[in-house]
Symmetry: C2
Subunit: 153 residues, 2 copies
DNA sequence: ACTATAATTTAGCAGACACTAAGTTTTGGA
DNA sequence: TCCAAAACTTAGTGTCTGCTAAATTATAGT
C-alpha cells in the first residue's frame, strides 16, 4: 500500500496483554457517559444554581427521554438524585466523581494548550481525551506542565 | 463545598456548541470499535500473514461470537471481507481506514513517549486516545514532535 | 478415508444509549 | 383561580456490543 517502507515491525504484544488493553478501553468507554453527565450536572449546579433535565438534554445534544433514562441509571448507581421539577443533584459519590472528572478535564485542557492547541479545540478534544488518559498519563501531563509553565519554550 | 476556592469561572459554552462537542464525541465512539478491529486485522495480516476470527477474539478479549457479529457489521459497511477458514481481509476502504488508524496510533504513541510516558503505558493509552484526538490535535502533536525530536529537552 | 479437534456460525438474551410520540404533571402568568 | 406552556415520564423501537450454548463445517493427524 503506497510507497511507505513498512514503518516499524512493532511486533504485536502477547495476546493477553493486548486483550487487557481493549478490555480496559471498554471499561473507560462505559464510565465515560456517566462522567460526562455528572460533570455537566456539577457545572450547571455551580454556574446556574440548578441542573435541569431540559438543560442537560440541550447541552448534551440529546432528547429529553434519553436524559431521563440515563439519569435513571445514574440514580440506580448512586451518583445522582432527582427532585422532579427542581432539577438534579449529586450524591456525595456523584460529587466525588464530578470533582475527579473536572480535575482531569482541566489538566487535559491546560496540557493541550501548552502543546499548542487553540482554546476552542483544546476544550472540545479534552471532552473525549479526559476519559482515556490513564493516571500515569495524567501524571506525565502534570509533570510536563510543571516544567513548561515555569520555563516556557 | 470543600475548601476549594472555586477554581475558575469557566463559564459554560453556549448550549449549541456544547452539544456539538458531545455529538462529535459520540460519533468518535461509534467508529472507534470499527477502527480497532480494522487496525488489528491489518496488523495480524502483516505480522502473521493471516487474520483469523479466533485470534481477533483472543486479542480483543472478546468471545468468538462477538467477533462474528462485529465482523458482519464491518462487512456490511464494506471494510472487511471474509473467506471462511481462511481468515479476514480488508477491502480497499478497510485498508484506507487501517492505514489512517495506524498513522494516528503511531503518532500518538510517539507523542506520549516524548512527553515522558513509559512505552508500556504509551501503547495502552494510545489505544484509547487515538480515537479522540482531532486533526488539529494530531497536527499539534506532530509539531511538538518535530520540535522536540530535533532539539531534545 | 475417518474422525477428533478446532474454527466458525447461529440462536437467543441482556444492557446501554439513542429516538419519536404520547401522556402526565407543575408552574407561573393573565 | 385557571389554564397554557414547559418540564418531565412512559411506551415502544432500533442499533451496537457483549454473552453463552448449541450447531455446523473444515482441517489435519492417524
Amino acid at each position: 500500500m503506497s510507497g511507505m517502507p513498512r514503518a516499524s515491525p512493532r511486533s504485536l504484544p502477547p495476546p493477553e496483554d493486548h486483550a487487557a488493553r481493549f478490555t480496559q478501553q471498554r471499561e473507560a468507554d462505559r464510565s465515560a457517559i456517566a462522567e460526562d453527565y455528572v460533570e455537566l450536572i456539577a457545572d450547571l449546579l455551580q454556574e446556574e444554581g440548578e441542573a435541569r433535565a431540559v438543560d442537560i438534554a440541550r447541552r448534551m445534544g440529546v432528547a429529553q427521554a434519553t436524559v431521563a433514562a440515563t439519569v435513571a441509571r445514574l440514580q440506580r448507581d448512586g451518583l445522582v438524585e432527582t427532585k422532579p421539577y427542581r432539577g438534579l443533584f449529586l450524591t456525595p459519590a456523584g460529587q466525588a466523581v464530578a470533582s475527579a472528572a473536572r480535575a482531569r478535564h482541566e489538566l487535559v485542557v491546560r496540557f493541550l494548550l501548552a502543546v499548542g492547541l487553540d482554546p476552542e479545540t483544546a476544550e472540545a478534544d479534552a471532552e473525549g481525551l479526559e476519559h482515556h488518559a490513564s493516571e500515569k498519563a495524567l501524571a506525565a501531563f502534570a509533570r510536563f506542565l510543571a516544567k513548561h509553565e515555569a520555563d516556557p519554550k
